[in-house]
């Protein structure tokens, strides 16, 4: 009987998902600072704090999910089996990461729209009430 290579599969899987998460989060939250500044109308302190909080949440939820689904429930035997199992896992995780990315982008765009609407409404308010 051949020895199962689950351990090697895990050792490949872990660095790949950690690197992917880091890369996506790094890119997303480097560029989201502009949105945050727009949403909070230039109040940079609160914008950077919110950005950091969202970044932490992104890391937590994605790494947590990646660790959670790592277990391969059967004995992987041979290289071909390992590649198939790994590509299923990593592909599924990539799709999850993409969905999360678009969710975050939606939140940023929505926040910006709301902030715009608010300032627009304020400038349109009739001055007679004052």
């Amino acid at each position: 009987m051949e020895k199962s290579v689950n351990f090697i599969a895990y050792l490949v899987y872990l660095p790949v998902v950690i690197f992917l998460t880091w890369y996506v989060a790094h890119t997303l939250f480097k560029n989201s600072k502009v949105f945050m500044l727009d949403i909070f109308q230039g109040k940079s302190e609160i914008a950077i704090a919110t950005n950091k909080l969202f970044e932490t949440g992104f890391y937590l939820i994605n790494l947590g999910f990646a660790f959670w689904i790592m277990e391969i429930g059967y004995d992987v035997i041979g290289n071909r089996d390992m590649l198939e199992a790994l590509s299923t896992k990593i592909g599924g995780f990539c799709i999850n990461l993409g969905l999360m990315l678009f969710l975050n982008l939606y939140l940023f765009f929505r926040g910006r729209r709301k902030a715009r609407e608010k300032t627009h409404a304020l400038t349109l308010m009739p001055k007679t009430e004052m």
Binding site: S4, N6, F7, Y10, L14, E45, I46, A49, T50, K52, L53, T56, G57, L60, I61, L63, G64, F65, A66, F67, W68, I69, M70, E71
Partner: protein, 117 residues
């Protein structure tokens, strides 16, 4: 081998909890400041209580999860169970974090609508 797994697991969860807690502690301050209308001493008090509560909930939860652990016989089992357990803890942490942010958002919204109807 379970003892070794518990030691590694507790070390990892402790490190993650403390790091993330400090991050929240530093960045959440400004939000509480806004909620209590720039009252610095009240803000620091609330912030510290929140931090302690967070540590208690998380470390307590992490310690509780040990009772549900399978018996570990091989190195592969060790790696799998530590990673999966850490993943569960971290996911719970993330969900709690998002709930917190939503709560702060709604409280801020309510305060604003009371001040400017």
């Amino acid at each position: 081998m379970n003892t070794l797994a518990y030691i590694i697991y507790l070390l990892i969860t402790y490190l993650i909890t403390v790091r993330v807690g400090l991050l929240f502690f530093r960045n959440g301050r400004i939000f509480i400041m806004e909620l209590v209308h720039q009252d610095v001493s009240l803000t620091d008090a609330i912030n510290r209580i929140l931090l302690v509560g967070y540590y208690l909930v998380n470390l307590g939860y992490a310690a509780l999860m040990i009772s549900t652990w399978d018996t570990i016989l091989t190195w592969t089992d060790l790696l799998v169970s530590i990673t999966v357990m850490t993943g569960k803890i971290v996911t719970t942490l993330a969900v709690m974090h998002y709930i917190n942010m939503l709560v702060i958002y709604f409280i801020g919204k309510r305060n604003q609508s009371i001040l400017h109807p």
